[in-house]
């Protein structure tokens, strides 16, 4: 018994220790209103589940301690209670109330996260198309006519609308300090509005497992002031190379790439998000994913593929 109490005590101490250091955890360090909504919601939920946890644990410890078998209560015959309607109704109602308390802000936030925050609604949003491919992130700026790989530069205090799609596997786009996740899917488009209120470099990654290169599917978000952003755009147009169609399809092959910057976007050649069409068929290349083991049959006709592959750099790490 004492051991049990000791365990519970040490576990809760361990937890407290973690929570105290929790202010440094990335999802509590929001850099924009969307992420802040989530941080607030999570904190709100932590308060309530904390209460539940403490109450139930207190009941548990009290009952286990108080009603433990002792040599002196050997002949004690416990009452064979069936239950108690009033008590049972109470412990049904209280959880219902707590659930409602948690659901109201959840539903509100769900709607809020789909929109550009009200205080930025008047500003002209920057639209960036995000395409995930194995195993890199491609960002296209249609207005600025720029394409970047594995990093995205955004202006602070201006709404940015990410239009997400995939050139193959399903992936999850996540910048914990700016917004929660959303999937990228081939033949689909999802939207994620964000605002960065702080300059800096933010970590982003794919969290939806998509094969051998999954772990490396990270990118960074460079949040800079509006002037710096314009300067960056100008610089890109001055120094970066033009993206060619052939080169773009080469990039889509399974490989790991560093940060790259190009003038021009792929949006002129292919719409990965085209829901009704079959745009992505020509970029699929199963042969590039060959690993060890017995090779299975491939039903995809390689002659349809736009790119005649050379295997790509799929083993490169």
């Amino acid at each position: 018994m004492r051991k049990l109490k000791g365990l519970i005590l040490s576990v809760s101490l361990l937890m407290a220790l973690f929570v105290l250091s929790g202010c440094e955890l990335i999802i509590f360090d929001s850099a924009g209103p969307q992420a802040q909504i989530l941080t607030d919601l999570i904190n709100w939920s932590l308060v309530w589940i904390g209460i539940i946890f403490v109450v139930v644990l207190a009941l548990f410890i009290t009952f286990v301690w108080k009603y433990r078998a002792r040599p002196d209560n050997k002949d004690y015959m416990p009452p064979q209670e069936e239950g108690n309607k009033v008590i049972e109704i109470i412990w049904t109602l209280i959880p219902i109330i707590i659930v409602v308390i948690l659901l109201v802000p959840t539903v509100k936030s769900l709607y809020a996260l789909e929109e550009v925050p009200a205080e930025y609604a008047d500003e002209e949003p920057l639209v960036i198309h995000v395409t995930s491919a194995d195993w890199k992130w491609i960002f296209s700026y249609p207005e600025e006519n720029i394409e970047t790989i594995n990093y995205v530069t955004i202006p602070t205090n201006r709404p940015v609308i990410f239009k997400l799609t995939s050139a193959g596997t399903m992936q999850s786009f996540w910048i914990p300090q700016l917004a929660g996740q959303k999937y990228t899917m081939a033949n689909m488009e999802t939207e994620l509005p964000i605002v960065a209120e702080r300059e800096g470099e933010f970590f982003g990654r794919n969290t939806s497992f998509n094969g051998e290169g999954y772990r490396e599917m990270e990118f960074s978000v460079e949040a800079v002031s509006q002037e710096d952003f314009e300067k960056w755009v100008a610089e890109v147009h001055e120094y970066a190379d033009e993206l060619t169609e052939e080169e773009y399809y080469e990039k889509l092959q399974p490989s790991h790439l560093g940060r790259e910057t190009y003038v021009g976007t792929h949006l002129q050649w292919i719409n990965h998000a085209d829901h009704g069409g079959n745009a992505n068929e020509k970029i699929l290349n199963p042969e590039a994913y060959r690993g060890h083991g017995y090779p299975g049959k491939i039903f995809h006709d390689p002659e349809n593929a736009g790119q005649q592959h050379d295997g790509g750099d799929h083993s490169g790490h």
């Binding site: 999802i27 416990p78 209670e81 049972e88 659901l103 959840t106 789909e114 999850s172 959303k182 051998e212």
Partner: protein
Amino acid sequence: MDIKWDQILIIEEPIMFWTFIGLIVSTIGLVAGLTYFKKWGWLWNEWLTSTDAKKVGIMYITLGIVMLVRGGIDALMMKYQTSVPENTFLSAQHFNEVFSAHGTIMIFFMAMPVIFGIMNLIVPLQIGARDVAFPKLNLLGFWITASAAILYNIAFLVGGSPDAGWTSYFPLAGKEFTPGIGNNYYYIAIQISGFGSMIVAINFMVTILKMRAPGMGLFKMPMFTWTTLITCLIMIIAFPIFTIALLAGMLDRIFGAHFFTVADGGLDMMWANLFWLWAHPEVYIVILPAFGIISEVVATFSKKRLYGYHSMVWAVIVISVFSLLVWVHHFYTMGVGPTVNSIFSITTLAIAVPTGIKLFNWLFTMRKGRIVFEQPMLWALAFIPTFLVGGVTGVMLGMASADFQYHNTLFLVAHFHYTLVGGVVYAVFAAFYYWWPKFFGFKLNHKLGNWHFWLFNIGFNLTFLPMFFLGLDGAARRMYTYSAETGFAPLYMLSFIGTLIIAAGVTIFVINIVYSTLKEKRITERDVWGTGRTLEWMVPTPVPAYNFAVIPKVEAIDEFWHRKQTGKEFVNEKEIKDIHMPSHSWLPAYIGLAFFISGFLFVWEFQALAIASLALPFLGMAINSFQYDDGFYIPAKEVIETERKDRGEQQWKAK
């Protein structure tokens, strides 16, 4: 034909090579041992062809424990790989195969067989029946599950391992992105095991509905039987969805269809929907019987009736309904829009209410009781706080928008291990210690049990608590390694140490089984723990093949307790007659083998041959139709002898 052995036998890596050698050596050892001790006949006649639900149950559990060890070794490899940053113990590909195997094996071939095994052992006894409704079908269910397990388990050495996670999401799992045959194993083996699960569901549903002892109304059934009944209902509703999804996935992979592909109008999101439409109920398929076990154990060791029995039953029913209405919460992040996400947040959080009711019922069962800290009760007690952690973090994850930050992180992984290990596995250990003596006639050693309990508990919390914080710090799941700059290293290391402690605990559990089998005192009391409440404690220990010499007439909830209190006798010798028993059958083993062969041909994409081989299981069924075997009788004299072994217990009558 050009055969490349390195494509067929995957032993290029040293770990694989030595595993392969180890498997061969232990197989030879096993075969040699069985031959030397002349145990083949015993194995075949007493076990592999036995239609006795108790033996089928023990075979299920044995399969589950073997798979627990396999899945556990996978877990150790993963944890060792991530214990330090940029570790090179496993390659990315190998790590992907290992975590896919870990998840699939633990759910399909560990949790489910063990739960099915416990159902087989306990349900007939709790309802006062001599066997299940369809004994031969029951054995077939085991054989199909076992052959699916073997098929899945050979994948890593023969032809390539599945590497798309236990969720096996399309399009990744399709031929467009994983062209080798590895993932075929998933779609075929799991489909086969699905037949086994369906057989269990139908069998136990019929058993419980039709074979209860006279007088046992639905609301006099023990809690474990109730949860089994509801579990069977969920299985019957949920499994067909999965079977169809797996069939479509198989057609995509092996026959070039386009249900879930990126190209040619496939809809990969449909896989996620169908998968979770089954997989969320699946969580309840394993956790509801666990709730039942905890209810039995808490009541017995508190020496009290289960508090709020009726509300508990209704809580289980409500949970089963909601379990089918929450599947979208596994992919809130798919962008289905705020309205859909809101609805699914509501249904998800609604489950917290009946779950809370159960927790309070257990707590109030202990209140005013006399709590004895025997091994089973320790596990049931530890279940409460760990499952509470799993539950409250589940509420956090259920809040759709907050989930955008937790989704696919280690926070999620920690959560579901707190429910599936802290819930299901704890309950299963409670069940082992609780019912073990009933079937084997001796208890598991107390001291070793304590070591098992404390090591497992400390190890478990050390493994999974840090993962909550890693998740909140942005650590995604399924990453085979991470860089030192992330700062994840200390917590990952802590988690690895925890896994080692768990492994030590499980090892002691296995040692305990061996030690107790050899050394523990044999017992013959019917009421092993002294405070048994339900009918399984009324039959002799160890349980005879026929279970009940006389089918009891049930008057009250907790009939055995009622009889002890009123002094009513357990068995009236005058009523004992010859008992009819089902015969052994070799057909289930044959059909299991047939499914294995057929499945193997499908995996290797010999399409025509594979389809033709489907005749093999049908042949077994045809043979079955021409077998006229009416079973055999155990003579009344033999039954009376067995029943008289523990007359000393009649002292209960005096009270």
